[in-house]
Structure formats: C-alpha cells, structure tokens
Amino acid sequence: MLTTCLKRIKSTIQFLGTGLMLLPGMVLAEYALNFQAPATEIAREVFELHSLILKIVIVIFIAVFAVMFYSIFAHRKSRGHKAANFHESTTVEVIWTIIPFIILVSMAIPSTATLLKMDNTSGSEMTVKIVGYQWKWQYEYLDHDISFFSTLSTPRAQIENKEKKGENYLLEVDNHLVLPVGKKIRFVLTANDVIHAWWVPQLAIKKDAIPGYINEMWTKIDEPGIYRGQCAELCGKDHGFMPIVVEAVSQEDFNKWVSLQKDKAVSAAADSNKVWTKTALMKQGKKVYEKSCQACHGATGAGVPGAFPAITGSKIATGPVKDHLDMVMNGKAGTAMQAFKGQLSDADLAAVVTFERNGLGNKAGDIIQPSQVKALR
C-alpha cells in the first residue's frame, strides 16, 4: 500500500522534473550540464538517485516560490490590498514541519541502500593500490606484480597557450590504468605526501588518498572504453594537472597487457646494468627532468623563490655527487621534495642527476652511471 503510494508520487515527480529539465537541455545541447554517462551499475544508481533528488527539490522550490511570487503579485499595496493581521497557526506550522520530514525519510531510504552497496568491497577479483603523489598517481597491481606512475601528458605548450589545445586537454596521461571489464576491482588508496582524491565521474567513485591511511573502494566496469577523471582534493601547485585515465579492456586484452608490462620490466633492469655515454644520459635525463622535476624547479632550473629552490647554481647540484643522489633518491622530509628512489629506475635516476649537474646552467663535469645508483639502494 505504502510502496505503491510512494511509487506513484515518485513517478509523478519524475514526470514533472523531466519536463523541467528538458527545457534547458534542448536549448543548450552542446553544453556539459549534468553527470557524465554512468559506466557501472553503481554509477547508474547514483545517477538515478541524483535525478530523483534534483526533481524533488526543483518541485518543492517551484511550489514555495510560486506561492511567494503570487503573493508579491496579488498582495501589494499598489493594488490596494489591505494587510491581514494573522501571525500564527499551530496547525499550519505542524504540517509544514511534518511534511518535509516525510520527504526527507523518503530520500534517506534509497540513499542508504546505495551507500551500503558502494561500501561493500567483498568478493573482489583483483586489487589495485593507488598512491597519490604531488602531482601524479602510482598504480600497483597487487595480484600481478606490476607498478607504474601515471603523469599528465598534455604538452606544456598547450597549457601556456602556445599550441592549440587537444581534445583531451588536461585529461590525458602517459600511462593508463588498464583494467579488465566485468570484474569486481578493489582499490586501496593512500598517499605519499599530502591528501589527494581519486575520482572518475563515470565510475561514480571518489575517495581521498591520505598519507598514513588505507582507504578502500571498488568498481565493476561494463564496457571497454576510456574513462577520465581528476584529482579532487587540493594538493598544492599542480593539483589541476594530475588527471586519471582508466582504460577498460576485455579480459583477453588485459592478459596481453600484463605480459607486455613484464617484458618492459626486464628491459628496464637491463638498462641499469649497462654503461651509458654522457650524451645518452643527458638526453634521457632531460626527459626525466621534464616529467618529474620541472613542475617545481622550473624548465630552466630557476625554481620559485621562497617556495621551491633553484637547481641552477645550487649547493646540492654543484657539490658532491653523493649528497645530490641522496637528495633525489631520499627526498627531504617536510617539503614537497619526494623520495624518487621508489619512482624512478636506476638508469633514470643516474640520467636525471647527470642532467641536473651538467645542464640547467650547471657545469659539474661528472657523469653518474646506473651502477652507482644501484649501489646506494
């Protein structure tokens, strides 16, 4: 009895609400107005809940202000309306306390149901650990022994308006988070430095990545495709520049991707065993610098006075190699300077330190080999 009644109210409200929302929708077809298309069962449920609540509040809003604007129109002095003198009515006041309460309960029930579903991470088939860094994400596939970093791949020139902006401006990364479709995937989140938040709108999951905490959430993606998101918690200077790209693929493609990653790991290990020329180190070092260091220390190594130290002419980059390697590998506690030993390979570390000592206006003259880095690990 009650449920049919509620259903009827719900469908009436939906009918009214849909009509209201179609109006602006038709005029502004090219504008992004509402949630992105949901890509999971949970995301669809969240979308429906959002639509329902939106319609309810629009209907209430219009009802209340229809009364107010009618009164403004009809009960004005210029139309000769004389003021009544009533100023209380217990019946009316009780009614407009109880009715909102009932509406609230009717919103709370579906919200609670959806929330409980979102919270249930049991029965997951694989786990990915997500670690937030200033300003990139690390993904670790706990079941496959794969780990990599994912950073913004939009060229600097586009951000600085020197080049035309691409279609996925600020929403593109070098390494996608590749996930199989149709599998319940559990994410565990934490952060290395400050608080970040991992959010992909189409999957309707968002959770803070907090240093010292392990948070959990899950998803099960329906269809292969690319799903883009961004960091949602202010995490410093480049908070707006650490997007998320999820690439959902079939199980078969996922398996292929996994074996490809294993091959890559083998060739990276080979790199750290060979002896590099200075030119090769400088070339690779520049690449690594642009990806991992430039955000703070600047393209020319000048840093930002007071906030981020310069590399050009710095004591570290012109002093003993050991101190320089120590700074880059272990970072500096309490600052934005991270420990890069877990993020970069021996070869990349050797290259970037060589680059910092011999590029950016510095002329230390020495070169560092991957084997030296390896020895310090």
């Binding site: 504008y31 992004a32 107005l33 949630f35 992105q36 969240v46 809940l49 609540i53 509040v57 209340v64 202000f65 107010m68 009164s71 403004i72 009960h75 004005r76 002095k77 309306h81 003021a83 009533f86 100023h87 009515s89 006041e93 309460f101 609230l104 919103m107 709370a108 919200s111 609670t112 959806t114 929330l115 409980l116 979102m118 308006n161 401006y169 400050v194 608080i195 938040a197 709108p201 309707a204 999951i205 968002k206 803070d208 907090i210 240093p211 905490y213 948070n215 959990e216 998101g229 961004q230 960091c231 949602a232 918690e233 202010l234 410093g236 200077k237 480049d238 707006g240 006075p305 906030a307």
Partner: protein, 518 residues
C-alpha cells in the same frame, strides 16, 4: 546633554578611543566594506584566470593563494565583522539599552581587526607567498607552505580573539540590558539570531584556535599531531576544523535571517508569522550545526555508521530551515506589500538562500555527494548560501537602517539599479557553476578541460558585473551620508520597534533612560 558632549572627543582620538556602540559599529562596517573590496578583487583574479582554458595571468601557486586568501578575507574580514557592526549599531537600540554592556572591550574587539587583516594581506608578499592550502588549511599541505602560513595562523588567532570578545559583549548586553518589560520572547528577531550566533561563536572559535595552534607546533616545534609518520592523524585536523567550520556557516547566515525577519514584516505591513517557531527553528539549526560537521568529509573513508549518522543529521537541518522560509512566505501572504530596496533585497535573500539550501540538501546525501564533493557544484552551493544569504542580507540591513544611521533617505532609483545589477551579476556568476560541477569540474583548479569553457566564461562575465556594481552601492552610501531628503523617525510606514522611536539620525547616545516596553 552636556555630559554627552563631554564624552565625545573629536578627530582621530574619537575613533581610536571610542567606546560608543555607534562609532564602533560604523568602524566595523567600514572595515568590512574595505575587506569586501580586497576579497572581491581577489575573486576577479581567480575569475580572470578561469575566463578560458590555459594559464594566462597567474601561476598555479599564486592562484591557490588567491582562492585561499579570498575565502579567509571574505569570511573573517568581511561578513563576520559586518554583522558584528550591525549588532553594535542595532542591538542596543533595539532592546532599549544606552550602549553595549562592555564598551572598552568593544573598542578592543574592533581594533584587533586591522592589524590581523594587515598580517593576512602582508603574507602574500613574504618569501613563498601567502597561504595556498585552501581556507580549510588541511595538513599535510598546510605544513608544506612558507611563512605566509604562519602569518595566517596568527591572523586567525587575532580575529578569533576579536570574535570571542565581541560575542561575550553581545551576550552580556542582550541578557542584562534589555529595557524593562522586554522579556526574551519579545525581543526583535535580529537580536535573537545574534544571541544564538554569539553562542555558536563562543563554542566554535576556540576549537578552531586549537586546531591552528596544533598546526603551528607541527610546523615549527616538532609535534606530529597531524603527521601520520609520527603517529599523528591528518584527518583529525579535518574533524576539528569542521567542528568549527560548520557552525561557522550558520554564524555567517543566522544574523542575516534576523535581518530578513525584521524587514519582511515592515514592508508587508503585517507581523512576522510564527515568531516563536522562528526562535525555536534558529535554536534548532544552531544545535544541529554542531553534530553534522563530518558531512564535509564523506570521502575521507569514515565507517558506515559515521557516514549514515552525519547524512541523517544533516538532512534534518532542512526541517527548521524550511520552517523559516515558510514563515517568511506566510508573513508576505495577505500583506500589503511595497517594494523599496530593502524589501527587494530581503525577497532576493530568501530566494537565493533557498537555492543554496536545496543544493545543500542534495549534498547531504552521501552516495551522491561522492560525485558532488570538491566540484564546482559545491562552489555554487556555498556561494548561493553565503552571497545569496549573508551578503544580500547585509545589503538588506544597510538599506533598511541607513536612513536611521544618517538621517537621510537614500535614492530609491540608484538603490534599485544596484539591486538588479547585483542580482544579475551574482546569478550569472554562480548559477552556471552548478552545471560545470555536475559535469565534473573539480574546484580549486587554475585550468580546466575544454568542455567546461562556456560556463566558466559566463561566470567570469557575471563576477565582473557583480563586483563593479558595488561601485554604485558605494556611491549611494556616500551620497546618503553627505545629504538627501530628511528621514522621519519611523522611516518606513510599517516599521515597528524601539530603534524607530528615536530621531533620525540616531543621536550619539540613545536610551540614556530606558524606555518602557508594554
């Protein structure tokens, strides 16, 4: 009369040493207006950078300083002092008291503000720049900042002391200095809302002071309250911050509710509907504001019981808030309304605040909040509440009481021009932000993906319109202070209350002998 003249020094020392509630009220209001200008200019820096995708004007670090300092200036420098200014001016006159209960303390509460604000503005120019961690100052990010963050912490302390002293003064005044016959349930609603607000301040500001002190010792004295590596807890800060932060929202908006509850009956020529339910609703909102703080933190990973408790408690706030809105509408119903500028602003406040209210209800629902949280939807929501509620409420108050303060009527034509331009400006700024937020634009970013471009452009146009319209307001107030048609004692045909029984402009000392309230 001769004694009154004796107590009235002139020139600079009048303002420096004054203990007169009207002088202090005026200084609060002027200070608040100056801060509003500074905060508004910062918002224009933000909006100009967001005019189109790409980085054009400022670097991301400075952008973050702008969003942070804009919020701190607007909340602590503009809106709170502006309402304290109104309280100073109006509460003694509304309850028939000769002055505030603690006049010297009153002087000190005010004079703490200018050095505090100066410290905050200076922070932008020290090495490393101003605070850039957002006004919420979440660690560990706020641990990273340069000395600008320490300036901010000291600013917060000084402003906090000022607020606490101000609240003590307001409570003491209201509880002890009412005219004979004015019992609590006969007080004007503005006085009621301020009484409750003052208790909110007393209960929440010291908690915030504690939080930023822990931040300070974490930064410089080796403590690790918020550092997970040392056994601390970064989320602890958020709990403490929002235990202050949520009541703070009501600190900003309850006095505006009080103003609206004075103005609507005046221009509807009909008593306020449901006076006692208004008082109880205000008290209920104040109580609930202390048990809903973690709805700002649904994504930190709270246990399910916590998420559910905070969701239900937050939803409950809609009930007393709804009662208030319904009461205002019922006050207008069957009235005999005229629409002078204060009435226009009052109606607009009800309208735009309610818009922020209903999006607040949407945000209360945890599963959908995961999508809204930290997006422009939230930015739109709280600007509708704070600009649409508090700031429009302030304009309502200024237009309503300006003739009483200055003895002159302002120009209705200019007032209405200011009203309409402000309304178009703020709605053009903040309404499109609902859409960008729903479509996925995170807040606090200096640059954004291409699909958000159109609405951001609208927002920027709106912001410039809204801010530059305030030049009209400045001109209007200036002109009214300088001269104009003489205002009557009652000023408005339907106005009732003690403040309308004294001459316009209100003499330097009012109610030296208490009036009788029947």
């Amino acid at each position: 009369m001769s004694e009154a003249a004796h107590h009235r020094p002139t020139g600079l020392s009048r303002w420096l040493f004054t203990t007169n509630h009207k002088d202090i009220g005026t200084m609060y209001l002027i200070f608040a207006f100056m801060m509003a200008i500074i905060g508004a200019l910062m918002s224009l820096v933000i909006r100009a950078e967001l005019f189109e995708p790409g980085l054009q004007l400022v670097d991301p670090n400075f952008f973050n300083q702008m969003t942070t300092v804009h919020a701190l200036v607007m909340v602590f420098g503009f809106i709170m002092p502006a309402f304290v200014g109104l309280a100073n001016w109006m509460i003694p006159m509304m309850i028939g008291a000769p002055d505030m209960a603690l006049p010297r303390l009153n002087n000190w509460s005010f004079w703490l503000l200018p050095p505090a604000a100066t410290l905050l503005i200076i922070s932008l120019f020290v090495p490393g720049g101003g605070p850039a961690a957002g006004w919420t100052l979440y660690p560990p990010l706020s641990i990273q900042g340069g000395m600008g963050m320490d300036f901010t912490i000291l600013t917060v302390h000084m402003l906090g002391i000022s607020s606490i002293l101000g609240s003590i003064n307001i409570i003491a005044t209201i509880l002890n200095m009412r005219a004979p016959g004015m019992n609590l349930m006969k007080m004007p609603l503005f006085v009621w809302t301020w009484l409750i607000t003052a208790f909110l301040l007393l209960a929440s500001i010291p908690v915030f002071a504690g939080a930023v002190t822990m931040l300070l010792t974490d930064r410089h004295f080796g403590t690790q309250f918020f550092d997970a590596a040392g056994g601390g807890d970064p989320v602890l800060f958020q709990h403490i911050f929002w235990f202050f932060g949520h009541p703070e929202v009501y600190i900003l908006v309850l006095p505006a509710f009080g103003v609206i509850s004075q103005v609507i009956p005046t221009f509807a020529r009909k008593p306020l509907f449901g006076y006692s339910s208004m008082v109880f609703a205000t008290a209920a909102i104040a109580f609930l504001s202390f048990i809903v703080w973690a709805h700002h933190m649904y994504t930190v990973g709270m246990p399910m019981a916590g998420e559910l408790f905070f969701m239900y408690a937050t939803m409950l706030i809609a009930v007393p808030t709804g009662v208030k809105v319904f009461n205002w509408v019922a006050t207008m119903w069957q009235g005999s309304m005229t629409f002078e500028t204060p009435m226009l602003f009052a109606i607009a406040t009800v309208f735009t605040f309610t818009m922020g209210g209903v999006t607040g209800l949407m945000l209360a629902l945890t599963p959908v909040d995961f999508q809204y949280h930290d997006t422009y939807f939230v930015v739109a929501h709280f600007h509708y509440v704070i600009v649409g509620g508090s700031v429009l409420g302030l304009f309502t108050a200024v237009y309503y009481w300006l003739p009483k303060w200055t003895g002159h009527m302002y120009s209705e034509g200019i007032g209405k021009l200011h009203f309409w331009l402000t309304m178009i400006g703020i709605n053009l700024t903040f309404f499109p932000q609902h859409f960008s937020g729903l479509a996925g634009m995170p807040r606090r970013i200096p640059d954004y993906a291409l699909q958000f471009a159109e609405f951001n452009m609208w927002s920027t146009y709106g912001a410039f319109l809204a801010v530059f319209s305030q030049l009209i307001f400045f001109y209007l107030v200036w002109k009214t202070v300088k001269g104009g048609t003489k205002a009557t004692d009652q000023v408005w045909e339907g106005a009732e209350g003690l403040e309308w029984t004294v001459p316009s402009p209100a003499p330097y000392h009012t109610f030296e002998t208490p009036p009788k309230v029947s």
